[in-house]
Amino acid sequence: MAIVTKQPTPPRPAPLSESSVIGWVRINLFNSWMNTGLTLASLYIVYVAVSGLGVWGFSDAVWVAKDRRECFAISVDGACWAGVVSWIDNIFYGRYPRAELWRVNLGGVLLIVWMAPLWLPRVKAKIFIGLSAVFIYPFLAGYLFTGGDKGIFMQTMVTVAMVCVAGNTLHAMIGVISGRSLPEFLIGFLRMKEASEKNQRNMLLGILSLTVIAAYILQMNWSLETVSWTKWGGMFLTLVISGIGIASALPGGIILALGRRSKLTLIRVLSISVIEMFRSLPLITVLFMATTMFPLFMPEGFVLNKLVQVIIAVCLFYACYMAETVRGGLQAIAPGQQEAAHTIGFGYWKTMGLVVMPQALRVMIPNIVGTFIQLLKDTTLVSIIGLYDILGMLRAISQDTPWRGLYREPLLFGAIVFFIVCFIMSKYSRHLEVKLSTGHKTGNE
């Protein structure tokens, strides 16, 4: 009897009790008495939450109605989303003139177009794209949103911004298609590859100045109706405040963090005291301070509007928070990096800018995004001091005659909007962290 086979016996599949759905359920949910209890309790919570919210928020909810009374007439126990639906423009744009909403939308689209190349592969010089988005886009957006007469400075900035948009977009397209940058492409297009460097540069400068002049002439007879900042509101205002906050908190935080680690005693002491002062205060007291004290700080007759006061307060406050985040990242970088950079002759700014900061920023990405999320969420505090941001608008619904007393649905809607934005941001930061990690662990995971 041959018991030796030439073929290896194929592995048998795992027993059904281990591999099937039932097996998974048994291992993960019912493997001990305690876990069974936990599972049943969790199932009960899920059932109560889902059925309660589902019935209230979906199956019994009213989506279209004229006013709250009609909501009640249709369904007593359901949510009255009709109020939110009829206020949706207010929630997103505040009291911005309805005929001018395209300006806000255009501003948003322009920002997306401006920033999109940062995420595209094969595009070169991303740092310039990012810098231009931070330093030039705000002027264009500011003009778009406020409108009115533009002085010579504003005209120039709008022109520069227009050139930047056009250049950025072209550059990104060329980059995606051929992997070259815009100047390289232009030189190639004009068949000047053989020409001397000086000629090439002059040619490019000529093209640039022609574009600038063309853009300047183009924008000269544009005129936009003035929209006072008091008409701004809703999600738009929240995004304006938090956008400016985000754009200025990171550079401010980096400067403060470097100041805190500086060898110069005075600078270090100043940075520490500013950071510790703002970090020990609640944001709302800083906002109150801004609205009550800034008018006193300014010379007589000079009035800062409330929006600017709030923005300054938010920027200062979050720069200090960002400084601590950045400091955490700087501490994670081994001192050898700095010493090595000094050895090959780098000065302070080169060491920091080219060696330490890039590494530190990569380590800090989750925390930076965390601070950004915090900033976005905390922007809702401006509603307390009387700006109509998204929360202010949501609370105003209950003061509106047809929807008097409608509290819960608007707040839940606001919570959902924030949840979506913040959740996407935090998931993206996780993704970035994984993508940028170079293999060596710096934290204790």
């Binding site: 949910l29 110069l264 002062m277 020990s280 999320i373 929360l391 707040l411």
Partner: protein, 452 residues
């Protein structure tokens, strides 16, 4: 200055090595790699030697002239001087503007207003205060105490709830873990202000009226919840009640002694002592016995319905409850993440080893994992507690009488004195935060010594 010299040599030496390395085809100096190293090493050693240094520096003649703008000391002085000038100018500018503005607007200054009487009432207070007689300083104290009270309770609540949820998040039970994750993600990604307002007008305003109060104590009518808040019985201590309090303190001290003794005993003879049972028994029996022996000297002031409201007992306004709930639930979500990260930071080998020597999983958690996880949990936990105190200032959105809404808003609107009031409110927050962070630094230094 001497420090720089070996570097010059090292750089030179490296250059030589590079040129003579076996990989480059053109070796400028035909020497074996080994002997080159020895030569270079002797040069470096010689360079460090003071005498040779002088000789060599005489040969090399470095540019040692004093360059004013490239000298480190001059530069550092210059930078600091410029910063000092700029900051000084800004401060002077702000102060002079402020004093000028105050003068122009005819606003009074000084802290004298603190002793003048305030005309408004406060609905929730811990100290005696009569409107019209109490001073603004009383208002400040009431505000501070209210802030501390709500944040203290929220800190206790969020720590317990967050710990529980953090453990649940790590549970092997898939469903509970995902449920905890859902809770954490939903709460963390929505603004706390929205949550505070939601609890206030979305939940605590929808409670039944006073007449139809919900009884939370199952028919005993000592915890009554309605849309005016939570009414509960308050204790009225009798003459000899202080003896019970003393007994309680003695029992607490006894627990600490017992703990110390049982640790020592376990170290000596290796047998554990049932500390938990013994200390709970001590805590229950000693004060309880004294209380009964002195003839139960404690009465309860039970809230009773008179007219349209409850009289007697202690009542917590809905704004307080909303703020407490919102703070607890929001901070618990953040704390749960800290607990999870802390426990995951403990090396898996630790719990494996503990299991290998036969410890039960629950004891592994309590005796091995959690004590080590605390090192990672405590620092962020303390800053979370500080955040709870700071977030308690959101009371202003729902009208709970905390320091910001009472002092920085109401008093500022009534009395003026913007500079003083803003400064005092900030001082309150800064005192507490800076004290805590000083303690924090001390703690961090202490646990760093333990670290290997």
């Amino acid at each position: 200055m001497d420090q720089g010299r070996p570097d010059v040599f090292t750089a030179y030496a490296l250059k030589l090595c590079d040129g003579a390395s076996p990989h480059s085809g053109l070796a400028p100096i035909r020497l074996s790699y080994e002997s080159l190293h020895v030569t270079l090493w002797s040069i470096i050693v010689a360079a460090n030697d003071a005498e040779t240094t002088n000789k060599v520096s005489a040969l090399i003649k470095p540019k040692e002239h004093f360059d004013f703008f490239h000298d480190e000391r001059v530069r550092s002085f210059l930078y600091q001087f410029l910063t000092a000038c700029a900051v000084g100018w800004v401060v002077w500018y702000l102060v002079s503007n402020t004093s000028h503005n105050l003068e122009v607007r005819g606003m009074n200054t000084g802290f004298g207003f603190l002793t003048s009487s305030a005309g408004f009432d406060v609905d929730f207070k811990f100290i005696e205060y009569i409107p019209g007689q109490g001073t603004y300083f009383d208002i400040f104290l009431i505000g501070c105490l209210n802030s501390l009270f709500v944040s203290g309770l929220a800190i206790v609540g969020c720590t317990i709830l967050g710990f529980f949820i953090g453990i649940l998040r790590l549970s092997s039970n898939w469903l509970s873990s995902k449920l905890a994750l859902t809770y954490i993600e939903i709460i963390r990604n929505t603004p706390i202000l929205v949550q505070v307002i939601f609890w206030y007008i979305g939940v605590f305003s929808f409670l039944p009226t006073v007449k139809n109060s919900v009884d939370l104590s199952f028919g005993a009518e000592v915890f009554l919840l309605n849309n005016r808040g939570l009414n509960m019985a308050s204790p009225l201590p009798g003459d000899l009640f202080w003896l019970t309090q003393v007994a309680f303190v003695v029992a607490v001290i006894g627990v600490f002694v017992l703990r110390y003794w049982s640790h020592k005993r376990q170290d000596d003879i290796g047998k554990p002592f049932p500390t938990l049972i013994a200390s709970s028994a001590l805590l229950a029996i000693l004060p309880g016995g004294v209380y009964l022996l002195t003839g139960s000297p404690l009465d309860w002031d039970i809230p009773t319905l008179q007219g349209f409201n409850f009289v007697g007992g202690f009542s917590l306004p809905p704004a307080f409850l909303a703020l407490l709930f919102a703070l607890t639930i929001y901070s618990a979500a953040r704390f749960a993440e800290m607990v999870r990260a802390g426990i995951l930071s403990v090396d898996k080998g630790q719990s494996d080893a503990a299991l290998a020597i036969g410890m039960r999983p629950s004891r592994v958690m309590v005796l091995v994992v959690i004590p080590q996880a605390m090192r990672a949990i405590v620092p962020p936990m303390i800053s979370l507690w500080m955040d709870v105190l700071k977030n308690s200032s959101l009371a202003i959105a729902i009208g709970y009488a905390d320091v910001v809404s009472l002092f920085m808003q109401t008093t500022l609107n009534q009395a003026g004195y913007a500079v003083e009031i803003v400064a005092m409110t900030m001082a309150f927050f800064m005192t507490i935060s800076l004290t805590i962070s000083a303690l924090m630094n001390y703690y961090n230094k202490r646990i760093q010594l333990v670290e290997r």
